[in-house]
């Protein structure tokens, strides 16, 4: 039986985890070849996730029992629509970030460390998306935290270290709150497997406590208002190649986990009051982050506050889950649109920062004019953040507003529209200096691949604008609460 599992079971799900994991080991062994290994890994991972997504598309969700051990004893990997979508997003963004990092960390002495940590983080994220049991989710979540904290800490200097320490402590707090929820769940139901649990859970005080512990813990990791304080210093002071990973992908990991739990374990606990509370927090985040971004005077904290604002939209899945069946898909698509746009902005910001030698926004105009490719990419991504067509951001905004109106919870439509205007205000504050009169100067030399990969990432966010229907169809193949699968 185990033998059959070993031979017949090398499925897409397993490959998706194995490839980056092997890459991480290889880069650890041969730090000098780190960049090339990472590039190969990025391409292979994109291939395997595409394969996995197509598998889900054609044949529906796949459950892979590791080593042939079935649940409840074994650990299952579950590849369904939601997981495939997030994996695909991760590998597309990951590919461009890898290309960018090839130029960014290329000649640095300690570049090997970046590659090990990045591939390790990638493997951990992939494993998390595929995990089908609550304890395995905890372990992968912890791996994601440790790797991303180390990525922030790669930027030497006091502020970065303090920021990463703060990030680590808050994340550990969140993880342990989550683990406490796991312990209570196991105590009550004797199962860890999500699908088994989903069939057994009964609404009650215990489940509410579990939901509260897990949700608050994950909110802290997602940097959802009011637990967002760590994000701006953390993402703002990380190395330029790490910021896009953190802001575009790592934040989405804990969001994914929260969504997954609410879709499978706690759907019966969602009440309108909870929707209003969580949506209200999201709305507050949108406004607050927008205001802080307006007030920021340095480029990277500015972009990080924009993330605080945009994470606020993610909280809308609570009210949407209740209002419309499948309403959460709008939020997931938004997460993808935000990931592409935010990765682009952070990559461009890193380029400009390196070219200018600083990131004071008031003094970047020359370099922005002298680096039209990066500025252009930033413009496209900015349009994505505001939600202007033809970017994924427009489709995402459309879906959010449509869901809010169709579900008769139109105040959230107002939040989305006003948030878009606020984003418009701060994005054009960012782009404005590029149009000041005067000659541009390219600043210090920059590896060409950094600029072109940024542009590529920006084009992906345009491509996403045409992938709305396909994305929603893929997300339909998601394993949700009782009866699902």
């Amino acid at each position: 039986m185990p033998i059959a599992g070993l031979t017949g079971g090398l499925s897409w799900a397993a490959l998706i985890v194995i490839v980056p994991l092997v890459g991480a080991l290889l880069t650890g062994l041969w730090p000098r070849a780190g960049g090339w290994v990472a590039l190969v890994v990025a391409l292979l991972t994109l291939g395997t996730t595409l394969g996995g997504a197509l598998h889900v598309w054609w044949q529906g969700p796949e459950i892979h029992a590791l080593g042939g051990w079935e649940a409840p004893l074994g650990i299952a990997l579950v590849l369904d629509g939601l997981a495939a979508f997030m994996l695909l997003l991760t590998s597309v963004v990951g590919l461009f970030v890898t290309l960018y990092a090839l130029g960014y960390v290329g000649r640095q002495e300690r570049s090997g460390r970046f590659w090990v940590l990045w591939l390790w983080l990638w493997a951990a994220m992939n494993a998390l998306y595929l995990s089908g049991d609550v304890f395995n989710l905890y372990v992968t979540l912890e791996l994601v935290v440790l790797a991303s904290v180390a990525l922030v800490a790669l930027a030497s200097g006091g502020p970065a270290l303090v920021a990463s320490m703060r990030y680590l402590l808050l994340s550990l707090l969140g993880s342990l709150a989550y683990l406490m929820g796991v312990a209570l769940l196991y105590g009550a139901y004797g199962a860890l497997d999500l699908i088994t649990l989903a069939e057994q859970v009964t609404p009650g005080h215990l489940l509410m406590m579990v939901a509260a512990l897990m949700t608050v813990g994950l909110m802290a990791k997602t940097a959802l208002f009011p637990l967002h304080g760590w994000l701006a210093p953390g993402h703002g002071s990380a190395p330029a190649a790490a910021s896009p990973i953190l802001s575009a992908l790592v934040v989405k990991v804990s969001f994914y986990l929260m969504l997954r739990l609410w879709l499978t374990l706690f759907p019966d606990l969602a009440t309108p009051a909870l929707g209003v509370l969580m949506g209200g927090l999201g709305g507050a985040a949108v406004i607050w982050g927008g205001i802080m971004a307006m007030a920021a005077d340095r480029l990277k904290p500015f972009v990080a506050y924009s993330t605080v604002a945009q994470v606020g939209y993610l909280a809308l899945f609570f009210p949407f889950m209740l209002a419309v069946p499948g309403g959460w898909r709008a939020v997931v698509f938004f997460a993808a649109a935000h990931a592409c746009a935010k990765a682009t902005v952070f990559m461009a910001a890193g380029t400009l920062q390196r070219a200018a030698g600083h990131d004071r926004m008031s003094e970047l105009a020359d370099v922005m004019r002298g680096r039209p490719i990066s500025s252009f990419a930033m413009g496209i991504a900015g349009a994505g953040l505001v939600g202007l067509p033809f970017t994924g951001g427009f489709i995402a905004k459309w879906l959010l507003v449509e869901t809010a109106i169709a579900g008769d919870v139109w105040p959230w439509a107002v939040v989305v529209v006003v948030g878009g205007l606020l984003a418009g205000a701060y994005v054009f504050r960012l782009l404005g200096p590029a149009f000041l009169a005067g000659r541009g100067s390219p600043g210090r030399p920059i590896a060409g691949i950094m600029e072109w990969s940024t542009l590529g990432m920006a084009l992906v966010s345009i491509a996403l604008g045409f992938a709305g229907a396909a994305s929603l169809q893929l997300l339909d193949a998601t394993v949700t609460g009782p009866g699902g699968l």
Binding site: F135, E142, G158, L161, V162, L168, L169, L176, A183, L192
Partner: protein, 105 residues
């Protein structure tokens, strides 16, 4: 079901208590070493709660023990990272605590 015997109850209450104590220390105490220890105490609280799930009236469930062992491994790793980071913070800023002013938000 959570066990009805007294030992289980005690474990559960103590676990919860440790968890809360840990959260309190993590939030209130400024020194980083204390914060790292607080995280470990929180972890111990969670492990105690997990152990109550292992002791049933009829038979002993091995799964929670496996979970606790895995949890300990994870906690050790996290602690190691946290301690290393703490040393770097101390080297960079001269003190092993987070700056007293809140992050600008």
């Amino acid at each position: 079901m959570i066990t009805e015997n007294l030992v289980g109850e005690i474990y559960l209450v103590c676990g919860a208590l440790l968890f809360v104590l840990g959260v309190h220390a993590l939030v209130v105490r400024p020194h980083l070493l204390v914060k790292v220890l607080a995280v470990n105490i929180m972890g111990s609280g969670v492990f105690m709660v997990l152990l109550t799930a292992a002791s049933g009236p009829d038979l002993i469930d091995p799964v929670p023990h496996a979970l606790v062992i895995t949890g300990i491994v994870v906690a050790v790793c996290a602690s190691a990272v946290a301690l290393a980071l703490m040393l770097k913070v101390r080297a960079a800023t001269g003190q092993a605590r987070l700056p007293s002013e809140a992050p600008e938000d």
